[in-house]
């Protein structure tokens, strides 16, 4: 059982010209077992939504609430949010030189569970998760994200999701920069995750391509920091055919 409730969320980011509002009242509920796709043009605030929920220090919440199973997410530190069951797959995963994937994964698992994983089964689990993402077992001795190809970074993010087993996964443009083979591997990873009991997914994407492999229950169109349109999977097909123009224009007219 897991429900992520975002209610009237307002977020600003500091710029040279002062605080700039990026999210202008976002309301969205991800219930048990649901996959939501968020689509929108560049700069519409899709990524900001994911990073704000995960607690990146760059963003300031100026209004609204986010709860996970009734718990106030915004009151939690970044690591407390992860412990509560949130996971963020980043568009640009960060390099951590000198820290091996194996060490990183074990440290994360230990932090989340409050105890070190059992060595024998853990090594098997890690190798299994890497293998499912077409990553060689030798991958675990490399430094986190250092020298990884774009595809390896994304597959590594999904392998982490598999191993850390969150309640709700926020996937920020997990499909960007992937060739079709890697996209399929990543999509299969997401599908294996959603098949588990009660997992929520917020899939942020610029393109409809990934939605041929990962079927969303709901599609939200994001324009200028707000949800401009909502619907079922058919909305993705419509976007594929028509693009974002009509929503962007409507938003601009609203301003006039």
């Amino acid at each position: 059982m897991s429900t992520l409730e975002i209610n009237d969320l307002h977020v600003t980011v500091d710029t040279e010209d002062g605080a700039k509002e990026i999210l202008k009242g976002v309301t969205l509920t991800i219930k048990d077992g649901e996959t939501h796709a968020i689509m929108g043009p560049n700069g519409s605030g899709k990524s900001t939504l994911a990073y704000s929920i995960a607690g990146h220090p760059k963003y300031t919440i100026t209004g609204g609430t986010v709860t996970l199973d009734g718990e106030d997410v915004l009151a939690m530190s970044v690591d407390e949010r992860a412990k509560a069951g949130l996971f963020l797959a980043m568009q640009y995963p960060v390099e951590v030189p000198g820290v091996s994937v194996a060490n990183f994964l074990r440290t994360a698992k230990t932090a989340l569970d409050g105890e070190a994983p059992k060595l024998r089964t853990w090594v098997k689990d890690v190798n299994g998760a890497l293998e499912k993402m077409n990553l060689d077992p030798a991958f675990s001795s490399r430094s986190v994200n250092e020298g990884f190809s774009g595809g390896e970074k994304k597959r590594h993010e999904i392998a982490q999701m598999d191993l850390l087993d969150p309640k709700v996964a926020l996937l920020d443009e997990i499909d960007s920069g992937l060739d079709i083979d890697a996209l399929k591997v990543v999509s299969e990873g997401i599908n294996r995750f959603t098949e588990r009991e009660g997992k929520g997914v917020l899939l942020i994407t610029h393109y409809t391509r990934i939605l041929r492999y990962v079927k969303p229950d709901f599609v939200h169109v994001f324009v200028n920091g707000k949800i401009a349109e909502e619907g079922g999977p058919e909305l993705a097909d419509q976007l594929e055919a028509e693009g974002y123009d009509k929503y962007v224009k409507a938003d601009q007219q609203e301003l006039v």
């Binding site: 995960a54 607690g55 990146h56 220090p57 760059k58 530190s77 970044v78 690591d79 949010r81 992860a82 412990k83 996971f87 963020l88 980043m90 995963p93 960060v94 390099e95 951590v96 030189p97 000198g98 820290v99 060490n103 990183f104 440290t107 994360a108 932090a111 989340l112 430094s143 982490q160 850390l164």
Partner: protein
């Protein structure tokens, strides 16, 4: 004419004026008392050198030496008058080195015989026993020779309290492989100014590992040149400056022969009010040094407010006929994105900081390739972190 001057002449090198590395001299009169404005002294807190750079007597003996050498390697402390000095080409290039040359009563002579392969490292531990800053300073000399085709590791460890000025000459014979590790693990009040010069033989490889954790002021000049083509030099450094500590490293690789290699990588962390580090790297590629390859890098991680790091890489190139030359320097704080990434996986801020710092030093420690030391170096990094980064309750 001394042996050294003969050797220098034999190399028949063009004189290259380098403001970073003035021409050396054995005559103290050639080395004026520094004012602190000179290029080579401007980063150093002269007032804290206890007169090493002026005229303070250097006859102190407040230390003990413990030596562990595997069979087949000769280690002996002899009266300096009996030692063959100057074989490395070391000519004192500043006042402290010149004074140390004159004053060193004792010379430690370590010789790895021709073709000898040592299974275990030689350990030389100098433990300072000074009871106050007024105890007379000590000058010592070391001549370390790895004869042709030998292979060995020599570890110098410095502990306790004293004021030490030392000159270390290292001669790596043709085809020899020598690793020298120097660990400044002094008590907080020690002062150590060291000059090390290595001459690397034909097709020989030399690795210098410079670890600096302790001491009030530690300043090391480490220089290398090549007696023939094909030699390779690795200089790896790891330092951790705490509140009030001054740690200064000045590196100079003089590519005096063709097809030689050098790789200089120093990494340091700073924490606490007044922690200060200086890193000056310089590589000179002479006209004769065609086909050489060189890289120098210094990275500093500033862990708290109130620290100051200087990092200046230099490259003087007299020929363009080389394989490659590069350098990099960086001074940075914890990367917010790194910490965020780790924390978004449930790792606490403290643990995330620990991981990042361990990672920062990890690559370097693994490259040292002396298994006996790896664990203790990681433990030392951990202990340093415990003082500050991990001690903050709110972290």
């Amino acid at each position: 004419m001394t042996v050294t001057e003969n050797l220098s002449a034999a190399l028949e090198l063009d004189k290259v004026e380098s403001h970073l590395h003035p021409t050396g001299s054995f005559d103290l009169a050639d080395h004026a008392i520094p004012t602190g404005r000179e290029e080579i002294w401007r980063f150093t807190p002269l007032k804290r050198l206890r007169g090493l750079h002026t005229d303070a007597p250097l006859g102190g003996a407040s230390f003990t030496t413990d030596i562990k050498a595997p069979e087949g390697i000769a280690v002996e402390a002899v009266a300096t008058a009996e030692a063959k000095r100057g074989l490395s080409g070391l000519v004192p290039w500043d006042r402290i080195a010149a004074r140390t040359w004159d004053a060193a009563a004792r010379t430690l002579v370590v010789t790895i015989p021709k073709e000898h392969i040592a299974d275990e490292p030689v350990y030389v531990t100098v433990d300072g026993t000074a009871t106050s800053a007024e105890d007379e300073a000590t000058a010592t000399h070391v001549v370390l020779t790895a004869e042709a085709f030998s292979k060995a590791t020599v570890v110098f460890r410095f502990t306790g309290s004293m004021t030490l000025a030392d000159n270390v000459e290292i001669i790596v014979g043709d085809g020899a492989q020598l690793t020298v590790v120097s660990i400044d693990d002094w008590a907080d009040d020690a002062v150590h100014v060291g000059h090390r010069h290595v001459r690397v033989g034909r097709d020989a490889s030399f690795k210098h590992v410079d670890v600096t954790f302790g001491g009030s002021v530690v300043r090391h000049d480490t220089t290398a040149d090549y007696a023939g083509p094909g030699g390779s030099v690795d200089m790896l450094g790891l330092y951790f400056a705490d509140a009030g500590q001054h740690i200064e490293h000045r590196l100079f690789v003089d590519h005096t022969a063709p097809n030689t290699k050098s790789n200089v990588v120093y990494k340091g962390a700073l924490q606490g009010e007044g922690a200060r580090t200086v890193w000056i790297g310089n590589v000179l590629i002479r006209k004769v040094a065609e086909g050489i390859e060189t890289y120098e890098e210094n990275r500093n991680l500033v862990l708290t407010d109130g620290c100051h790091a200087d990092s200046v890489p230099n490259l003087e190139i007299e020929t363009g006929e080389i394989e490659g030359a590069g350098h990099a320097a960086a001074i940075g704080r914890f990367d917010d994105n790194q910490l965020f990434y780790l924390r978004s996986r449930g790792v606490s801020e403290k643990e995330a900081r620990r991981l990042v710092v361990h990672g920062f030093f990890n690559d370097l420690i693994r490259h040292i390739d002396v298994p006996e030391l790896e664990e203790s170096l990681f433990a030392t990094v951990e202990a340093e972190l415990a003082k500050n980064v991990l001690a903050e309750d709110n972290a």
